[in-house]
């Protein structure tokens, strides 16, 4: 059974360690905040200029001056801080954020990522994604393993314009957890009920399978 978006987020949350500063991208990555393990304190960075993102505001308490990078209203936790965009990306570019989670259209077995543009169809801009992938110490991609018509999104080469090269460290898809190594995609875990063969068929890039591949634990 392929994972739901919530389950992808839940699995990624297990990558969080106490004291981590984390940037969560728009979409599935944002959901990761709902699954932070007990006893683990992480501080969420938003590239529009804050540390310490809290839950969404209570009814009637939304503040137009307090939004996340997805333009959603949020709150700030005790110990949080606000700063300008150049300071915010200084933090990101300087490698001070421990973990970055973002979505992708395609990822290659060399760690290249395409996530911002579909020529002729979508011209929204890269926002902060290129800065994030170029500088993050540790990048986890949350994505669907295949497109709706079954085409693999874990490729040898991206077909879409790149966001960054050789940067993705780990992928959590609806089918698998995969490390991006010097040799290619290294399969770490399977989604419950999904076989190695299912994953092999859904992966166009080089897939390395060594030994027994365990099912994900939730």
């Amino acid at each position: 059974m392929a994972l739901t978006k919530e389950q992808i987020a839940q699995r990624i949350a297990k990558e969080l360690k106490d004291g981590y500063y984390v940037n969560l991208g728009i979409g599935i990555p944002t959901l990761v905040a709902n699954y932070i393990p007990e006893g683990v304190e992480v501080i969420l960075q938003s590239e529009n200029g804050m540390l310490g993102i809290g839950p969404f505001p209570l009814q009637g308490e939304a503040d137009p001056d307090l939004i996340n990078a997805g333009k959603q209203t949020v709150t700030v936790l005790p110990g949080g801080s606000f700063f300008d965009s150049s300071a915010s990306f200084g933090m990101i570019r300087g490698g001070h954020v421990d973990l970055t989670v973002l979505g992708a259209f395609e990822v290659t077995d060399k760690g290249d990522i395409a996530s911002w543009k579909i020529p002729g169809k979508m011209v929204k801009g890269m926002g902060g994604a290129m800065d994030l992938v170029a500088s993050a110490k540790n990048i986890v991609v949350a994505m669907q393993h295949t497109s709706k018509d079954g085409q693999s999104k874990l490729l040898k080469e991206c077909t879409l314009p790149l966001t960054g090269v050789a940067c993705v460290k780990k992928i959590v898809s609806d089918l698998a957890v995969i490390d991006v190594t010097d040799e290619g995609f290294k399969l770490l875990e399977r989604a419950p009920g999904v076989t190695v063969d299912d994953i092999r068929k859904a992966t166009e890039g080089k897939l390395i399978v060594e030994g027994e591949i365990p099912e994900m634990q939730f």
């Binding site: 200029g49 137009p64 300008d84 965009s85 150049s86 801009g125």
Partner: protein, 229 residues
């Protein structure tokens, strides 16, 4: 020394067709609403606007786009504006898309007299086209240039008569770096106070960067994506 002007109309005096403007804000948060309205009313056209986003169809910089006053946008993300996308695909609008951190740093560098600097963002992507690549510490970087504008237009929470500014929460965003990079910087504030009122340790933008300041009115502060528990 007198930096205080009456209103947005007086503040934008001297902005002419074809000029380059920096406009603060992220999405609709922290945008200089009063000055944007005054620009729309002025009919000034062929503007190059450096702004992280392009507003929405009927608010923020979207209002300038609607009236076709913008020749070129320099932004990182314009996804919330359908009119923008239409003009772009129809070839009616020039667009330069720049990674957000590079955009912010180019403003900061422009204000700080740094003509150029190297960053890793965009290497290996189409952003790198025609850019100088140089390897530092084994990692390829792109040469990027500091940017200045004829006018920088920013919005702050509080300001004083010397031009000192304090922003509130995430409404700071691009306002602070852009305030440093205008040949003339205009600040509109929610509350204008006499010099000496603000704590000198808590100034985000020192008054040296601000040439004109006024207290704005009727702030709508529209929320793009109200999300509540």
């Amino acid at each position: 020394m007198n930096k205080v002007v009456k209103d947005a109309q007086e503040a934008i005096a001297g902005i002419k067709d074809g000029m380059t403007l920096m406009v603060g804000g992220f999405g609709l948060s922290g945008i200089p609403e009063n000055c944007i309205t005054a620009l729309v009313e002025s009919g000034i056209k062929d503007l190059t606007c450096i702004s992280n986003n392009a507003g929405v169809d009927d608010f923020g910089l979207g209002l300038l786009l609607q009236k076709r006053q913008v020749k070129k946008m320099i932004s990182s993300y314009v996804g919330e504006n359908a009119e923008f996308e239409r003009q772009l695909l129809a070839g009616e609008l020039e667009v330069d898309l720049i990674p957000q951190g590079t955009l912010a740093e180019r403003c900061r560098a422009g204000g700080a007299g740094i003509p150029a600097f190297y960053v890793p963002a965009g290497y290996g992507t189409e952003v790198a086209d025609n850019k100088e690549v140089r390897v530092f510490n084994g990692k390829p970087h792109l040469l990027e240039y500091g940017m200045v504008a004829d006018f920088a237009i920013v919005k702050a929470w509080k300001g004083d008569t010397h031009g000192n500014l304090i922003y509130r929460n995430t409404a700071n965003n691009f306002n602070q770096p852009m305030a440093t990079a205008g040949k003339i910087t205009i600040a509109e504030v929610e509350e204008l106070v006499p010099a000496g009122t603000l704590d000198p340790n808590m100034i985000h933008t020192p008054g040296i960067y601000v040439q004109r300041i006024f207290q704005g009115k009727n702030y709508e502060k529209r929320i793009e994506r109200k999300t509540e528990r």
